[in-house]
Symmetry: C2
Subunit: 481 residues, 2 copies
């Protein structure tokens, strides 16, 4: 007796044999957590959840997918912000989790390098580096779930970009499985190598659309020996930019963070967190959180240095008031105020959130022009811009008018507001995605607003490396003009 | 009466009208200097020398070339090391000089950025930056002719890579004309931008095979305020590597150069330069030239710091002797010794020169293994390795046996030696081109030794961006397997 299996059934049968029971499941319960993004904004369906244990298994699986025409959605910690790791609702794709591949293959203090599997979790990497008096100089809110592969695929940012750059700057080498199942082995680090195109760059920030990152060689820096944090009161956002320039010059490489918070955001946070206190006695139109880190000094010396820099800035009229954290716990309190803005805002009602950038020097002028313009155009709304001023990247939130209906407002006026924000940002030469990526969330907007020449190059490269369109379809690359 | 013009004649007619008499010439005298590379190793022929005055003219010219099927060989200062800017001898291509496009469009101290046309000469850029108390942190021997566009297209290295990286690290934005004549405008600098692939990376180090770089936004650093140079005597190359690690830790970001010179190379230089003196009283098997630069200290303080670092290294047995330059002219003398090795070597007879890299930590072991192996296999030859130890990149020269016939030897035994050197480097996970590029010189060797998966990606990307194969044909990308 013979049975005829469908193409999909044949694929699942072969994939199950390849990966074993730990490596493949089609059970709805096991899949449920991973077919929805962590914020619950996108939900899709998948044929199966594949969890290969090695690069060899990933390569063999991709070959099987090519033979059977099965799309592949790679996934790390499922903590992305743009739905880039969530399948569509056709149910034709497999979800390819890299989480089982979680070995730190090597870590070397003398070269300041480590080689990690794609599934290594950021926090684990931090801890391992710390145990060798080293530091991986990138961190972000989702560090307990975000994986090395996901950080690379989204070119993640975070709060240390000012000094250390985005994930791209930390990646020295890459191993990736290509759309035909071949393995690109670019893990060996050469400081100088001019044998053609720098292929690893193609896989950084391409959200799994050109290949599946399976491992990487990453840069490590010496562990921090000192940290000093200050909270500064400022009259205007332009004053904040001028202070940034001043502190950058005075503190040099020690300056690692420069975050801005408008007074009304601080106000929301203070109402939202019962135990929170304003760091300064008076209130100021803008606040800056300034953080310096050193790897070869002590905290008292660094604190003195930051204090005298801020003192000099005050004498030059660059700030209204400032306080330095006197302890680690006070530093943490400053950061808690900064990190609670989104949560405090949610308590106020619906808001449209935008992760945008413009050239660093232009950000104050952009904020001063854009917020009143939007509040005028959409009466009753309130604009809030806060975050990484030092990177020219703010979180640009527009709060709904009082009484707006959650769920409804976002789909009606909210959508118009977002389109308008992206129009404005594009007019200012900025980016509609500074650090969160495009995923499925912004792919239509990128198609609408992206430079046609750049989009054409992206489409050509995508077609060249993934001619069957099986790698993370529907993400990042607007395929039609 | 009608005359029928050939396709080529029609093209030249239209190109002449487009570019005017200053922009196009077919005169042999005007072409002669540019169809041969500066070292006289490669000579080709060209239909014409086109010298457009603007990006708009480059774009229009490329469109004309596409319409008439004319290949294009872009050229900057014609000071490349691999024949990458020299046309083949078919005479079917035009030589596209970017030298007329030589404006520094803007230079801004507060952002530390400048926007340059592709034809800006490196030395001019240095001088302009210096006049604003800034520094462009890349330099090399050909700075009087090398252009920004050429430096980008070859991802140039030089003597400051240890601290500042290769050209790739200096490029913040790019403008390029693509193979269809469209213009990719990526000059606006955003510190964070995750709108898809980082397209500028494609044009860096691709030797004009994917597009013609017409302008770039470059990174500037504060001008140097202090410089201190030391000459160090060492027993072994392994000791040199250990000293590098020690000084790197002790001097941090101030360490900008770490060059190694074996005793027999120093000996050749001292015989070659009548006025040269050995910096140290005794001779040592290996020497290191160590250079530190600071932008916020004075020279005396920097000198003291380097002196105490070297003193501590001596106490730990990491070096045999050391002397610090007591003046700028003594610093220059140390560099003259380093920079005269190739010239001194030429006086000794023919040699095969190789620009190779292996992982930084592996270089001593590579040198210790490879030189005796080659000298054994090719009796009478002498191996010399010198240069950028801090980058894992040495100039690896094999001198002919005494009495070898110049011209003949290179074509017979010399060729076998080079192939063997490239085999060894590849076995060690290294690069057959650390900083000079592939051009036409090494394209066959790259085809022979390159990772097949990497070569396949390169071919796909080349085909995607230049489907007619008109951009710098025969360079960099080994087209056939």
């Amino acid at each position: 007796m013979t049975t005829t299996l469908s193409r999909t059934e044949t694929f699942l049968d072969l994939a199950g044999k390849l990966l074993g029971p730990k490596g493949l499941t089609t059970e709805a319960d096991a899949l449920a957590q991973w077919v929805t993004d962590w914020r619950g904004r996108y939900t899709g369906r998948a044929l199966a959840l594949a969890s290969p244990a090695s690069t060899v298994e990933v390569a063999a699986l991709v070959k099987l997918c090519v033979e059977h025409g099965i799309p592949i959605v790679p996934q790390g910690g499922n903590s992305g912000m743009a739905g880039g790791a969530t399948p569509d609702d056709s149910g034709t794709a497999i979800l390819l989790s890299l989480r089982r591949m979680n070995a730190i293959r090597s870590m070397d203090a003398s070269s300041g390098q480590c080689v990690c599997d794609a599934g290594v979790i950021l926090q684990i990497l931090h801890e391992e580096a710390d145990s060798m008096a080293l530091r991986f100089p990138l961190t972000l809110g989702g560090k307990g779930s975000a994986t090395v592969g996901g950080l690379i695929s989204t070119n993640a940012g975070g709060t240390q970009v000012l000094r250390h750059g985005t994930m791209r700057a930390q990646v020295l080498g890459i191993e990736a499985v290509l759309a035909d199942g071949s393995v690109f082995d670019g893990l060996t680090v050469l400081k100088k190598d001019n044998r053609g195109f720098d292929l690893k760059q193609l896989f950084i920030g391409s959200e799994g659309t050109l290949g599946i990152v399976t491992a990487a060689t990453l840069r490590l820096v010496p562990a921090a020996s000192a940290r000093s944090t200050a909270w500064v009161g400022l009259p205007t956002i332009t004053a904040a930019r001028n202070l940034l320039r001043f502190v950058d010059k005075a503190m040099g490489d020690a300056l690692e963070g420069f975050e801005v918070v408008p007074d009304h955001c601080l106000d929301s946070v203070l109402k939202h967190l019962p135990d929170a206190r304003a760091p300064l006695s008076d209130r100021h139109a803008w606040n800056a959180l300034v953080e310096c880190i050193s790897s070869d000094g002590d905290s008292a010396a660094l604190r003195d240095e930051l204090e005298s820099a801020l003192g000099a800035a005050m004498e030059e009229g660059l700030l209204e008031d400032a306080v330095l954290a006197s302890s680690e716990s006070q530093s943490e309190h400053f950061w808690l105020l900064r990190d609670s803005i989104s949560a405090a805002e949610r308590a106020l009602g619906p808001a449209m959130q935008h992760d945008i950038s413009v050239p660093v020097d232009a950000m104050p002028e952009f904020i001063l022009a854009a917020i009143p313009e939007i509040e005028r155009r959409f009466p009753g709304t309130t604009g809030a811009a806060f975050g990484h001023l030092g990177d020219g990247n703010v979180h640009f939130h527009i709060l709904a008018p009082p009484g707006a209906k959650p769920g409804e407002w976002e789909e009606s006026e909210g959508k118009q507001i977002s389109a308008h924000v992206y129009d404005l940002v594009t007019d200012w030469g900025g980016s509609i995605s500074a650090e969160h990526g495009i995923g499925q969330m912004k792919v239509a907007e990128l198609g609408r607003l992206g430079d046609p020449v750049a989009l054409d190059i992206m489409r050509r490269v995508k077609q060249a490396l993934d001619p069957n369109g099986l790698l993370n379809p529907g993400k990042l690359v607007p395929l039609t003009e």
